[in-house]
C-alpha cells in the first residue's frame, strides 16, 4: 500500500506541466512555479477529496493551502 505522501505526489504530477517527468517532486516545491494555476487548483481540490475520501473543511480551502505538496498533505491527512 503506497503511503499518503506517494499517493499525493502521484495525484499532483499531471497538474504540474512545468515539472520534467524525470524529476522528483519535493514536498516543499512551489506548485505555482510548476504550473498549477487557480483554475486547476479547483480540479485539484476535487481530485484530492475523491482520492482521499475526505471533505476538506471550508476554512482550510485557502490560497496558501495550495502552495506546496506539504500544505496539501496537511489538508488530506
Amino acid at each position: 500500500m503506497p503511503t499518503i505522501e506517494t499517493r499525493l505526489l502521484d495525484l499532483l504530477r499531471p497538474f504540474l506541466r512545468l515539472l520534467p517527468s524525470d524529476q522528483t517532486l519535493a514536498m516543499d516545491a512551489e506548485l505555482g512555479k510548476l504550473g498549477l494555476d487557480s483554475l486547476q487548483s479547483i480540479d485539484l481540490l476535487m481530485a484530492l477529496e475523491q482520492e482521499f475520501e475526505v471533505q476538506i473543511p471550508d476554512e482550510k480551502i485557502t490560497v496558501e493551502s495550495f502552495a506546496t505538496p506539504a500544505h496539501l498533505l496537511a489538508l488530506v491527512s
Binding site: R17, P20, S38, L39, I42, D58, V63
Partner: protein, 507 residues
C-alpha cells in the same frame, strides 16, 4: 469648460465621499479623503526626487493598496505612469525601460534583479535591499514626505499613462492614453454599468492589465469600495473571499468566471450581495453566461468587448442578452463602430469586415512607434481619430456588434493579449527546436504550439521549463504538437492558416 485632468477624479471623490472606503486589503483600509492626502504627500515626494511633468514612472508590483496611490501621485504632478506585471521577465522589463527612459521606477523587494542596469531612481516597497540602501529610497520615505506646492500640469489630450502589451512583432509596445480618453471612457462605461457608492468591488485582475486598472477610475467616479485582491484568489477560495468581503461587483475574464462557476457548483457559498459580473479580455461563452445567471439569480452579467487602444468598444446590457445572444453589445454612447471591407469600404449592416472604432475613446497611438501607430490609427476626413482594430465581425441594423475572429497576428488567451511571434521565438531559443508556429484553438480554448525539432522529441515538461524562462505564465502554451516540418507560406513564413486547418481536421 475646464480641461479634464485625471486628478480631478480623486479631488471630486475626496470631496463627495470623504469618509467612504476607497481601497482595502488585509488590515489596510484607506478612505477617499485619506487617499487624497497620501497622494499629495507622495506627489511632493516624487517632485523632490526630480520627477517632472511628462516624465515616465514605471511601477512593477502585484496588486496592493500602494499601487493606485502611486499612479495617482504620478498623475498629480503630470507624470506618465505605467503599471507592469510583477511577473515581468527581466528582458522585457529592460526593453520597456529602454523605450520609456523612466525618471522613477518603483519595485518590490522580492524582485531585486530588476534593479540591474537601471539608470533611474528606484523606490522600493517592502524595504530597500541592503546593496542599494545608499542610493535608493523606501516607499515609506516617499509617502511620509512633506507636502509641497504642486505645479499644475496639462490634462485633456496630454498623455496620462502607457499600457504595455505585446506588439505584432512580439516586442512590447506602449499604448498611449490621454486624460481626455480616460475621462470620456470612464463616464461612458459607468453609464452602462452604473456602479454605486454602496458597491464593494473585488479587484482580482492584475492592475497591469488595463481592465483591472480602470476599476480604480470607476471607483473614483462612483465612490465604491475596492477590495485589492490578486489573480491567485480566483481558485478554490474565490466564493468564500467574495462572501467574506460582501462583494457586489466582480470584474473578470472568462477563466475567472469559469473558476467561479466550477467552485460554486461544487461547493456553493451563499453570495446574496453579488449584483454585477462584468466580462472582458476574451469572449464569455453563452453557456457560461447562462450558468452564471442560474448560480447567481440576483447578479447581472455584462458581456463586453474592447481593446487597450480604445479601452472599451461595446457593452451588452444583461436585459439585451436574450434577444442578442452572442453579441458583444452596442458601441459606447458618443462613439461609432462599423465593419470595413478589405478595400476600405464601410460595409452594410450584417456584413462581416474589420471593426473600425471612432470616438473620444480612441487613444493617442503607440509610444515612440510611428510606424506601428500608422498601421492601427487613422484620421478621418474631419480629423477624428479612428482605430483599426484587427478584429473581424459585423454590426447589425440595431447597432449590435457580432464578433467573428481576431486577426491571426494577435491572440487573446486567459484574458491576456499576446503575439504568436513572441511564443514562437521563445520556443526557437531552445537548441532542439527548429521551427515553431503558435495558434489558439478557439473551440477548446487552448493555446497550441506546433513544433519541429532536431532528432528526438524533447520532454514536454523540459521544454515548458525552457519556455517559462522567456515567457510569462499566461503565455505558456497548453498543448505542444510536433510535426516533421511546419507548413510554410509562399514567402517561407510559418503558415498559421494551415496549422489552423490541421486542428480543424483533428476535430
Amino acid at each position: 469648460m475646464s480641461v479634464f485632468h485625471l486628478q480631478d477624479l480623486l479631488v471630486q471623490a475626496a470631496a463627495q465621499f470623504p469618509e467612504r472606503t476607497f481601497l482595502f486589503q488585509d488590515e489596510a483600509v484607506i478612505t477617499y479623503a485619506q487617499a487624497a492626502l497620501k497622494v499629495d504627500q507622495m506627489a511632493s515626494g516624487m517632485l523632490a526626487r526630480g520627477v517632472c511633468a511628462g516624465d515616465r514612472v514605471l511601477l512593477v508590483m502585484e496588486n496592493r493598496v500602494e499601487l493606485p496611490l502611486l499612479t495617482l501621485a504620478a498623475t498629480r504632478i503630470g507624470a506618465v505612469f505605467s503599471v507592469l506585471t510583477a511577473q515581468i521577465m527581466v528582458e522585457s522589463f529592460q526593453r520597456i525601460v529602454g523605450q520609456c527612459e523612466p525618471a522613477l521606477v518603483v519595485l518590490e523587494a522580492q524582485r531585486p534583479e530588476l534593479r540591474d542596469g537601471l539608470p533611474s531612481a528606484v523606490v522600493w516597497l517592502d524595504g530597500v535591499p541592503e546593496e542599494h540602501a545608499a542610493r535608493d529610497h523606501s516607499y515609506e520615505a516617499l509617502e511620509q514626505g512633506e507636502r509641497t506646492e504642486i505645479p499644475p500640469s496639462d490634462g485633456g489630450d496630454a498623455l496620462a499613462f502607457l499600457v504595455f502589451t505585446s506588439g505584432s512583432t512580439g516586442m512590447p509596445r506602449g499604448v498611449m492614453l490621454s486624460h481626455a480618453n480616460v475621462g470620456f471612457v470612464t463616464k461612458a462605461i459607468m453609464q452602462r454599468l452604473n456602479y454605486q457608492e454602496t458597491d464593494r468591488l473585488a479587484l482580482l485582475l492584475p492592475m497591469s492589465f488595463d481592465y483591472g486598472f480602470y476599476q480604480v477610475f470607476y471607483a473614483l467616479m462612483s465612490g465604491c469600495a475596492v477590495f485589492i485582491g490578486r489573480s491567485e484568489m480566483s481558485g478554490p477560495e474565490l466564493p468564500r473571499i467574495l462572501a467574506r468581503h460582501e462583494i457586489t461587483i466582480v470584474p473578470g475574464v472568462p477563466t475567472l468566471f469559469a473558476g467561479l462557476i466550477k467552485m460554486q457548483s461544487y461547493r456553493p457559498v451563499p453570495l446574496p450581495h453579488l449584483r454585477l459580473l462584468t466580462n472582458t479580455g476574451d469572449h464569455l461563452p453563452l453557456p457560461h453566461i447562462r450558468q452564471l445567471q442560474q448560480l447567481f439569480p440576483a447578479a447581472r452579467v455584462f458581456p463586453m468587448y474592447g481593446l487597450t487602444e480604445c479601452k472599451r468598444v461595446s457593452i451588452l446590457l444583461p436585459e439585451e442578452i436574450d434577444a442578442h445572444e452572442n453579441s458583444v453589445g452596442r458601441a459606447l454612447d458618443g462613439t461609432e463602430v462599423w465593419a470595413e471591407s478589405p478595400e476600405g469600404q464601410r460595409l452594410a449592416p450584417g456584413e462581416v469586415g474589420e471593426f473600425i472604432v471612432s470616438g473620444p475613446n480612441v487613444g493617442l497611438g503607440y509610444w515612440r512607434a510611428p510606424e506601428e501607430t500608422a498601421k492601427r490609427y487613422r484620421s478621418s476626413a474631419n480629423g477624428i481619430r479612428l482605430l483599426v482594430t484587427g478584429d473581424y465581425g459585423a454590426v447589425d441594423a440595431g447597432g449590435f456588434l457580432h464578433f467573428h475572429a481576431r486577426s491571426d497576428f494577435m491572440i487573446k488567451h486567459r484574458g491576456h493579449r499576446m503575439s504568436p511571434v513572441e511564443i514562437e521565438e521563445a520556443a526557437c531559443r531552445s537548441p532542439l527546436i527548429t521551427a515553431a508556429g503558435c495558434i489558439k484553438d478557439e473551440t477548446k480554448n487552448t493555446l497550441c504550439l506546433f513544433l519541429a525539432c532536431h532528432g528526438d522529441q524533447p520532454d514536454d515538461a523540459a521544454l515548458f521549463a525552457e519556455l517559462a524562462q522567456h515567457l510569462e505564465r499566461a503565455k505558456l502554451p497548453d498543448r505542444l504538437i510536433y510535426l516533421a516540418e511546419l507548413p510554410r507560406t509562399a514567402n517561407q513564413k510559418v503558415d498559421r492558416k494551415a496549422l489552423r486547418a490541421l486542428l480543424t481536421q483533428e476535430a
